[in-house]
């Protein structure tokens, strides 16, 4: 019995290793496709304005990231971002910045995320409150500040995002994040206040 179980254990370990190899293989097999699309984009680059190039790159980076190439996506989008972002409309600029910021945060580069978003606060504030991109920006801004332990700015950003949020579930989520930030930073009174309000409204 013990021998049989040992053998089964070895087989499972082998299957697991095979699965890991498969994931890597899939990623490797997608490389020629990624390279081809990147070549096409680079060929088109002279005919595109930096803004248009950035928009194309944004789509491409989203696909690359989904295929597991998180760091490649961040590098490609980051290099196109500086030259092209100024040409975008405010909405596009916020959207692509938030996309870049999410890639940076996934890679633990929260300082980079905060720096990218900081410049765009006036731009985001200029959008109407009903524009979903505005909320999306404030959410990303609040989360990045919280991850960077910029306590005062983060709590202010969370409160602004909560103000802008019209969806109850989303608002509750943001309030929970804010309560957690207060708690973990040792501001128990504020954490209790916001969590008590939430309990009462449930």
């Amino acid at each position: 019995m013990a021998e049989m179980l040992k053998q089964l254990h070895r087989q499972l370990q082998w299957a697991e290793e095979e699965h890991r190899q498969l994931v890597v293989k899939l990623f490797e097999e997608s490389q020629p496709h990624i390279d081809r699309r990147l070549d096409e984009l680079e060929t088109k680059k002279p005919s595109l304005s930096p803004g248009e190039y950035l928009k194309e790159m944004s789509k491409f980076a989203a696909d690359v990231s989904e295929l597991g190439g998180r760091r490649t996506a961040r590098r490609l989008l980051g290099s196109a971002y500086d030259a092209g972002q100024a040409e975008l409309s405010p909405g596009e600029r916020l959207e692509i910045t938030v996309q870049l910021v999410n890639l940076l945060r996934q890679e633990d580069d929260t300082r980079g995320a905060v720096n990218a978003l900081k410049r765009l606060v006036p731009l985001a504030e200029a959008l109407p409150d009903t524009d979903p991109k505005k909320l999306s920006f404030w959410k990303a801004w609040a989360l990045s500040l919280a991850e960077e332990l910029a306590y005062s700015d983060a709590t202010a950003a969370f409160n602004r995002a909560i103000e802008l949020s019209t969806n109850k579930e989303e608002r509750d989520g943001l309030r929970a994040e804010l309560a957690e930030l207060y708690l973990l930073c040792g501001n128990i009174d504020e954490a209790l206040k916001i969590s008590a309000e939430d309990s009462a409204s449930d």
Partner: protein
């Protein structure tokens, strides 16, 4: 979840637990994961209240039946947390957590980000704290969300360390308390004391008493308050005491729960110099009401209670002392027969004896000396309790016995001889080489101290034989340094009983030691160098510097009893000691200088320079020396004014306290108008110091000249 945790932290544990039960009972559409999370919080809050059995009950009866419906990770987290509680409850039979750990290893998920932590530490080492802090913070958030209590504690520890590195001691208390670790208490406390910013200290104190109410958190809070007791602003004293008394008067619900009660009384003890009479009375009442007080044998708490009550003896009305003594007299039972008697209890009785009326004195004396004492300390202290029990003959016999006993520290034997154990020995080592065997005991000077206490009754020849034994053991190259320190102390103790001839013999032995020529048993051969960072054995059997400085002090004590017996010979030695490269020798050289009847000009100049030494202990002793050995010259007054100006700005409380003492003493003696004005300004500055003891010192009257 946050709400219930906050309620617990603010001291409403019952409301927090009731709320969790209420939410769970209300049913609704709560997922199994949410139910497990809420129940885990309940178990954690109970654990943090030292209610381990109830916490384990939650795991076994409520959480585990639901585990089938959650993922492997949650199962693992739960088993880790349960294991944590089991260990705290001293149950070591929880093998399930090892099985769960193996399962989790097989799944391969990592619960903490080791590469990110390494990167954070490297960043911190390189001074890039802007990179290190956010990474450590994110790890704290992750560990909180993931719910493994031990990881959260570790993450809190890392964040505390980082906060301290970047100079945020005033905000590090939160994470230090969450880490439940005493590791950071000293550094947070010493940093707050050194900053001398009452507004920041007040915030930390307020935060502790407001939100460190879960008992495991309170324990760390108490330890932190102990460290900063001297800097607690006056207007917070009342609330701090109230907060402490709540824990100090509570009953432990488990074995581990005793640590908070002990910590509370320890903190209260640190506050006793600041108590009012009313507060002292209240504390004495609280202490004597504890079950531990009535026990004959000391338990975990009684030493703290005795220390607190002892400190309160001088603050409560004399009329209350008889009752207090009656209620404590059971502690005296069997003390005189016990070598390991509780010294704090004896000190307490001594204090009561000094302040109490005749009946109280008799009560204490009769209880302590109810049977002939075998304990030599009781022989030594008999006089202090009005019980001069030893006759001259008995003292003589005792002294002759110890003149022999002292020599048993080092025994040179033949290989077949067995060493004789000294009367009180803390351990013995033997070494054999060829046909020689040497036995060295780690000696206790209990008996020698008793002999010294009765030195005035000793006949000359007995005194000589005791002194000869002490000097021989000091010369003995095979004796260990720790024993030699005791021998030097014995010479100091005998300093007022020596003749000029004996003083000369002592000088011959101590002079080379005072110059740094010290021979002693090299224990590093057996245990390695205790100062080496890679040696795990840190036991030290005495330091050469203590003996060198001690020799100076012993000689100076003799000089103060027989002025001029050593004269310039000793002055030169003390002056050399003042500039020794070892700070302990320098410090002791100034302690010796304070004993000298006269200090020459060159020694005073060295002392003035030492008031700016980089070691605070040396600065303190140098300043104290100048209180009695000052020169009334303009240059002296200007120079000491400069030193005192530096000292009053020192981050070290002890240096400022000595500066306060010196300013109060020297101001009436100062003949320079300019310096007198400067001293008055410094006095004003110290009157508003953040330290209670400094403020108290500056408010005292100058010490009368002797």
């Amino acid at each position: 979840m946050v709400n219930c945790r906050c309620l617990g932290m603010l001291g409403n544990i019952d409301s927090a637990v009731a709320k969790i039960d209420e939410v769970l009972a209300s049913g609704g559409e709560m997922s199994a994961l949410d139910q497990v999370a809420l129940l885990s919080l309940k178990a954690e809050l109970l654990y943090l209240e030292y209610r381990e059995d109830e916490s384990l009950d939650v795991f076994e009866k409520a959480i585990e039946p639901k585990l089938e419906r959650v993922k492997q990770q949650e199962k693992f987290v739960t088993s880790q947390n349960k294991h944590y509680v089991s260990r705290a409850a001293l149950r070591f039979d929880d093998h399930q957590s090892d099985v769960s750990n193996d399962q989790f290893e097989l799944v391969g998920t990592k619960l903490w980000d080791a590469p990110a932590m390494v990167h954070a530490y490297e960043s911190a080492f390189a001074g890039r704290h802007y990179e290190a802090l956010p990474a450590l913070w994110r790890e704290l958030v992750n560990s909180y969300r993931q719910g493994t209590w031990s990881y959260y504690r570790q993450a809190s520890k890392r964040l505390t360390r980082e906060f301290l590195q970047i100079g945020w001691a005033h905000a590090a208390d939160v994470h230090a308390i969450n880490s439940q670790s005493t590791e950071f208490v000293n550094i947070i406390g010493s940093t707050l004391l050194a900053w001398r910013k009452p507004e920041l200290t007040a915030v930390v104190i307020q935060r502790i008493i407001h939100q460190a109410n879960l008992k495991r958190h309170s324990t760390i809070g108490c330890k932190l308050l102990t460290q900063i007791a001297d800097a607690i602003p006056d207007d917070q004293m009342e609330v701090v005491l109230k907060w402490l008394l709540k824990s100090a008067t509570s009953q432990p619900q488990s074995q581990s729960g005793k640590s908070l009660i002990g910590a509370s009384w320890e903190t209260i003890r640190s506050l006793t110099p600041r108590l009012t009479g009313e507060q002292a009375k209240e504390l004495v009442q609280a202490a004597v009401n504890r079950e531990s007080w009535a026990k004959t044998k000391a338990d975990y708490l009684r030493p703290f209670l005795v220390q607190v009550v002892n400190e309160c003896v001088s603050l409560i009305p004399i009329g209350d002392l008889a009752g207090l003594a009656q209620g404590a007299i059971h502690m005296a039972s069997g003390m005189s027969q016990d070598l390991n008697y509780d010294k704090d209890v004896l000190d307490f009785f001594h204090h009561l004896y000094q302040r109490g009326d005749t009946t109280t004195k008799k009560l204490i004396r009769d209880a302590l000396y109810d049977t002939p004492s075998v304990n030599l300390d009781f022989v030594r202290f008999a006089k202090d309790f009005g019980n001069d029990i030893e006759s001259k003959e008995e003292v003589n016999k005792l002294s002759e016995r110890f003149a022999q006993d002292v020599r048993l520290q080092v025994q040179h034997l033949s290989p077949d001889q067995d060493p004789i154990k000294p009367q009180v020995s803390l351990g013995m080592a033997t070494a054999q080489s060829g046909d020689k065997k040497t036995a060295v005991s780690l000696y206790s000077d209990m008996g020698l101290k008793a002999v010294i206490a009765y030195r005035a009754l000793l006949p000359l020849d007995t005194l000589e034989s005791v002194l000869a034994a002490v000097l021989d053991m000091l010369r003995e190259p095979e004796n260990m340094l720790a024993n030699k320190v005791l021998m030097i102390n014995a010479i100091t103790g005998l300093s007022d009983s020596l003749s000029k001839e004996q003083a000369e013999i002592v000088f011959e032995v101590l002079e080379p030691i005072a110059r740094g020529e010290i021979a002693g048993l090299d224990v590093s051969a057996a245990f390695g160098d205790p100062n080496h960072p890679l040696n795990p054995f840190k036991i030290k059997f005495g330091e050469a510097a203590t003996i060198q400085g001690g020799a100076l002090y012993a000689l100076a004590s003799i000089e103060s009893c027989i002025p001029g017996v050593y004269g310039d010979r000793l002055s030169k030695l003390v002056e050399e000691g003042m500039t020794n490269s070892n700070p302990e020798v320098r410090e002791l050289a100034f302690v010796a200088a304070q004993q000298m009847p006269v200090l020459n000009e060159s020694a005073v100049m060295r002392t003035l320079s030492a008031t700016r030494d980089y070691v605070s202990g040396v600065v303190q002793e140098a300043l104290l020396t100048l209180n009695t050995h000052f020169c009334d010259t303009t240059a002296f007054w200007y120079s000491i004014a400069y030193s005192l100006k530096m000292a009053v700005q020192s981050p070290e409380t002890n240096v400022r306290r000595v500066a306060a003492f010196t300013i109060i003493n020297l101001t009436p003696k100062c003949t320079s108008e300019v310096v007198t004005e400067q001293l008055a300004e410094m006095e004003q500055l110290l009157a508003a110091d953040s330290s209670f003891t400094v403020r108290k010192e500056i408010s005292l009257k100058p010490v009368a000249d002797t």
